[in-house]
Symmetry: D3
Subunit: 254 residues, 6 copies
């Protein structure tokens, strides 16, 4: 059985539930999802500052649960803390944005990212750059309007989001659309017939990429830029994280 | 059941058999592999000219078998004919190199491609460029020596290939190693303990990415750069390909 | 006398005739043109799939005629099969797009490509990328309308093509205009007074670049990425191509 | 009087003292330094994970001291938390690496970064990428050896660091050397006569760039990617940070 | 006392006076400005040809005054002759554009350059490329209208320049605005409240960067691409420049 | 008859004679060469400063001779003053480096530049960047040794230059070699049999590209970044250049 930790670094547990519901049907019979919601932070991460806050929390939570999962998904589009987590953990870690974008690359030349809040733009763009995929990006298109609640934003704005996707195809040259952000999970299936190019459901992509990584069964790096760091003392951090920073070489998976 | 066409555009059927053997254990219970070997061409594609020849053959074979599979893998590292096939077919098509490289991106920042013949270098590099992944490539390292047979090259050169991988890690900054080329299928598992970074088994990556694409169930593009081309008459081509070029809009999957 | 093979990889012989008519006056007295039309394929290549089909045909035709020419032009904008041909042949081979774009580089900083069918866009763009000239490209502007016939498209759409060129100058920052595609041969001279920047006539550029290459008289590469490949057996290909793949090192020009 | 917060995100207060000592003589008479050492974290940040941890701490400390300074320096080469801090704070914030690299750009075409621990490489490189300065980077050269203590590493390794700098000039084409990392503060003055190109003292560069920003007196952005975020509720964070996330628009400097 | 040569390579002395007036208040008490206006050339440099003419004049003037200053500013946005001057002089030399752009980099991700004459566009863009900062450029926006006089252009066009800045922010994604060109000195302070992102005053940036370089006190390069050239004879040039070309190694600052 | 101005911006007239001798045999019967040597400047341009000086001289000489030629070659590898000359003149102007590099692009993927003096490196590299061809450059390899005289450097260093070319092929991946610098004219023919890839003779490339431009007969741009500048007064420049700056729109070729 492959245990997939699905960690939502936002504090909104209804979004976590939504992710589980949408990903479920695609899960292989030999996989199981372990959903976890951020114990602190903001309801949904939207800016560089909030992503910086979240990245420490990602490390805390993964450190605390180490050993209980075989692969982890950082389930916020923008992938906060991904690099650090990949460096520290002895099992593969992937990001929601990373999984969606790499999957989109197999369906066309350039993809557009469509989401529900203008504030997300800079953070999303830096995420694309971090993954070295700027030359595969057609555009980022974002709604610039208030919404009633995070839980219902995909219903409330469905038509406007489809319009953004159509503009991305017609004006920006998108071959593929990514409806980005955990709160939009499940929307792809509902709107696919209205969009003339493939639409990627991020959380399905993430779960299947997690299964792929489990199948590849990669060893933990002891060289390269993701090699296990040397043990380091620290203070004032969470006990699990202090322990992981201090002890990791000894406990590394062979 | 997801029917995955595994098309080897080389004419060496023992390589096709090897690919099936290596990919089998990773296959989901709900997938099946349909292996096909190129009916004409060269035993193994190594140069731009041979790739150009193969790309027409890929289109011929996929056109001929259209309808009998749900997703296709072009199983030669270098991905001959991939763009054209993705444009023409109503189901997803992926390349062996593409699948391996995108999977490697989730295991580190930069990957190196290691293979067994110097002649492969220019073609492999153009493949990396075609996929827009040059900024994720650490190096291409190739043996420069004769080998007895394609079927046994991975045994004969195992030690030298490991040495190349180690050089890629130590001198080129590779975080991940891809042992490239269908004739090296299965080698990753045998050498992984001797290489200090993750090693990607290309055909496993390809099969799992094929399953991912099936799970995403993308519609065929009617816009963007991979939109269905208009019907076009031709002459002197294979009957299946002439038919596909002529009729494709009418028969496109909705 | 420099024998210049002018191979039109489209099957439309009237386009071949047009190319010869337009290029003629620029030909040096010591050059002669050998026009050849594709014996099979499509009337005009417009998509990745059609370019893939054409690239094998380019190799077939050049292999068959080897020895009868001193330099070859692949006379379809998009340059199908160019890399493979350059690798295999013992004399220089250039592409229509390549010749036009490199010539445009001497007339300004960035050029725009203007042509008559929207379907050409993705293929043209990949051609620009293949030549490493994306940073010299201002835009690709294409008509999006039916035309009566390939032979008369330049007359029928003359005014619209001029409008596209003007938009490229005013909105995209083009310093030079390339009217692209063999069916537009001859149009540059007719519209040049209506366009405020230099306009490149592709086939004139190709013929003069062919003469330049003949003057440089380059030896065939025995090193680098275009070195002569080792002989390789094949089956099911055209006899001339099988012979060339098998015998090329022995027969290479010193 | 310009109040410059010099925040050392490492927990080593002797490094903070060193930075103050080295920067002092360059300080304008109308500036004063407010040194602060990280209250929690690691003695010196060296990896992606440690930088992720530090970036949250940077936000905590700046939030807590908001109003008491006119410009802030994040004084760890690698600039943890810089983007988020720039977004949240109403005064300019700069990074030690940023200041050193931009200053180096005025002294030559490409700079090399030289430092004392191999572990720093990936983080430093991502910092260069984040600032869009990869095309100005000649190389990163790092010692690969243990050192006795952080406080004395610059004395202990002085000769080896000079050798690295010389290699960067001779083999990598560096026009300028940056001795990177807060623990190396002050070394530039001691070794400058042994290095044939300009050497940048990072903390002097940072203090002078801070004075420049104060002289420019920029208003806080209410548009663009660094516009003030909308107020957002959070929980489980430090009180100062929760307050800043919630209240910032109201309190923003006009 | 730091002697800062402020050389205006335009022949308009009223622009020189303006630069001095605007820069004055930011000058440290330990710095003094030595303003010089070009003795020949054009009233304001706007094209590649005029910049080529100016670059020789920059070398003439700096050669003539060598020894009388500690750092030099080439005070025309576009930085004519900067590379050659940096190579030849024994003290630091910076450009007005360089100083403004590097300062803007600390205030946001991408900056826009706004100026008063369309003719300046190509030269400004090549300047951005020369400094390797194209990935930090959001746009160049230029007025396309006649103006009464260079001296009053900033008053006459104030409102239109603010409109361009607003368009750069809203449509091009600028985080920072640079009002470019010496004739616009002083405008930033007047319009800053009407522009929602930071506005860089170029000459203030230049003067403060000059002070920073003086504080770094870099030695002259004897290696790297800015190493002192070997002595070279010449004829027909200005006596000061001939002397400097011939004698420079002997007189170089240690 | 096409009149080709061959302007050597170095003051060494024996180099001019050499260029004429080498280019002669490739000249079309309908072309004639008008050789001119720089009346002032340095014997051979090698640094940024010397190139800046030369660029003004190029404009002076071309202005003075305007009307007497149909196309001009700036015959120093590095192309001093090319952009300005292209902007000002009513006929095409090309550079020696530009012509050689664009021609090399038709003979392989990447070229190396080989020359006789280390001082040339930075200038040559900036020339490659200026032409946007960095991605086609394999390397620049330069001798680092004194030579007896400019006139005989190609004989004296022939063997060492061949060694550099071989290193460029074997270690840097060059597909084509450019023996750069006017003093090496004629060397390509002598060493071609010892180098396993095509070798470009720069001045032959330049003369044939000049004939190509004459065949294209481009109109002078009245739009784009090379549009004719508006008339501008100046003082202290050469009479011919002052006249050209002032009068050009009126006299522009239609």
């Amino acid at each position: 059985m492959t245990r997939i930790l699905l960690f939502n670094p936002n504090t909104s547990s209804d979004v976590t539930d939504l992710l589980v519901r949408v990903a479920g049907p695609s899960l292989s019979p030999t996989s199981e999802l372990l959903p976890v919601t951020a114990p602190r932070g903001v309801p949904y991460i939207a800016t560089r500052a909030e992503a910086a806050i979240a990245s420490g929390i990602v490390l805390d939570v993964l450190a605390e649960r180490e050993g209980s999962f075989d692969v982890a998904i950082v389930a916020a589009f923008g992938d906060p803390g991904l690099g650090g987590a990949r460096e520290l953990m002895s099992v593969p870690v992937i990001g929601l944005a990373e999984a969606a974008m790499l999957s989109a690359c197999m369906l066309g030349q350039r993809f557009s990212i469509v989401s529900f809040a203008r504030a997300l733009g800079p953070w999303f763009r830096e995420c694309v750059v971090m993954h070295g995929l700027l030359n595969r990006l057609a555009s980022i298109r974002l709604l610039d309007a208030k919404f009633a609640s995070l839980a219902s934003v995909q219903d409330e704005k469905e038509e406007l989001l489809v319009q953004l996707a159509l503009s991305a195809v017609e004006e920006d040259g998108a071959d593929v659309i990514i409806l980005a952000g955990a709160p939009l999970a499940g929307l792809a299936a509902r709107v696919r017939e209205r969009i003339p190019v493939p639409v990627v459901e991020s959380v399905v992509a993430a779960v299947k990429q997690a299964e792929l990584l489990a199948a590849l069964n990669p060893k933990m790096a002891s060289a390269g830029t993701f090699r296990r760091p040397d043990p380091k003392s620290s203070h004032g951090l969470s006990p699990a994280l202090e322990r992981l920073l201090m002890a990791r070489p000894a406990e590394a998976r062979s």
